[in-house]
């Protein structure tokens, strides 16, 4: 599942550090946005071993809540 179509059910938020991933996890939990902290899948490369799996449909809301520069977000990619 590497296509970027809107039907992809999950995406992952990648981070520059573990601390950034943990901080983002707290923000999404506070906003009641479904998420799951998982190990970065083998086929994706990231600085941090953790990433947050989210519903692809929530991507825009997540982007708003986690400003990339401020929160060390590397990107959001489909799973």
């Amino acid at each position: 599942m590497s296509s970027c179509d809107a039907e992809t059910p999950y995406g992952v938020v990648l981070f520059r550090s573990v601390q950034a991933a943990l901080a983002a996890e707290k923000i999404l939990a506070g906003e009641k946005i479904a998420h799951k902290l998982i190990a970065v899948p083998r086929h994706i490369s990231s600085n941090c071993g953790f990433c947050l799996r989210i519903q692809w449909a929530d991507r825009e809301a997540v982007e708003r809540l986690l400003p990339a520069e401020k929160l060390g977000v590397e990107g959001i990619v489909p799973l």
């Binding site: 902290l37 998982i38 190990a39 953790f50």
Partner: protein
């Protein structure tokens, strides 16, 4: 009478057991093996039974030719309990032992998340354990509210036996919250650990 035992591809203790069975009735046994451990084990067996042994390494395997001595070869109680050296895959199921809700030693915040990520990843890696035993604070992973619950449930649904220590659930007052697997006791857990071919402890 001559007998051939093809033990290539077989794990300890099979080459020894099959050779011994053959030696009981045959005067000459040729056991073919494919690894050094089997060579050593069968050689040890032959010598302990007073047999002569010749080792011939061929392209398709190592041929161990054993000539029975004057005395008859019998299977004894000790032979039945052949022990296999560690480091070799032993017969018996793979058991995952989880004695903590944290993966590794260090900050809880990190350990709990590593454990969650481990069970999520376990769904996609092989080999799968036959049984997962949750003990001590490990039982917190199989109760309501656990971050690993969904993944452990999926593993249980795929046929993996999930056991939670009943004493531990009782200690943490979590018995009512058990959400996946079944409550187990020390007799079952001790037996599962002792019969395991391999135990992986987190």
């Amino acid at each position: 009478m001559k007998q051939t035992v093809d033990a290539r591809g077989l794990l300890c203790p099979q080459p020894v057991v099959l050779t011994l069975k053959a030696l009981v009735s045959a005067d000459e046994v040729v056991t073919i093996v494919d690894n050094q451990t089997a060579v050593e084990n069968v050689t040890r067996l032959a010598r302990s039974k007073g047999c002569a042994i010749a080792i011939d390494k061929k392209a398709d395997g190592i041929y161990l030719t054993i000539h029975k001595g004057d005395a008859p070869v019998e299977m004894t109680q000790a032979d039945a309990a052949v022990t296999c050296p560690s480091g070799e895959p032993a017969a018996g199921p793979l058991v995952l032992f989880v004695p903590s809700d944290c993966f590794g030693r260090g900050p809880e915040e990190l350990g709990e998340r590593l454990m969650g990520a481990f069970f999520h990843t376990l769904r996609d890696v092989e080999p799968k354990p036959a049984t997962i035993v949750f003990m001590n604070t490990g039982v917190k992973l199989v109760v309501e509210g656990s971050r690993a619950l969904e993944d452990i449930r999926a593993l249980a649904d795929s046929g993996i036996e999930v056991l939670a220590c009943g004493t531990c659930l009782g200690y943490f007052k979590l018995m009512e919250k058990l959400s996946v697997g079944r409550v187990s006791n020390m007799f079952d857990i001790a037996s599962i650990l002792l019969k395991a071919g391999k135990i992986v402890e987190l």
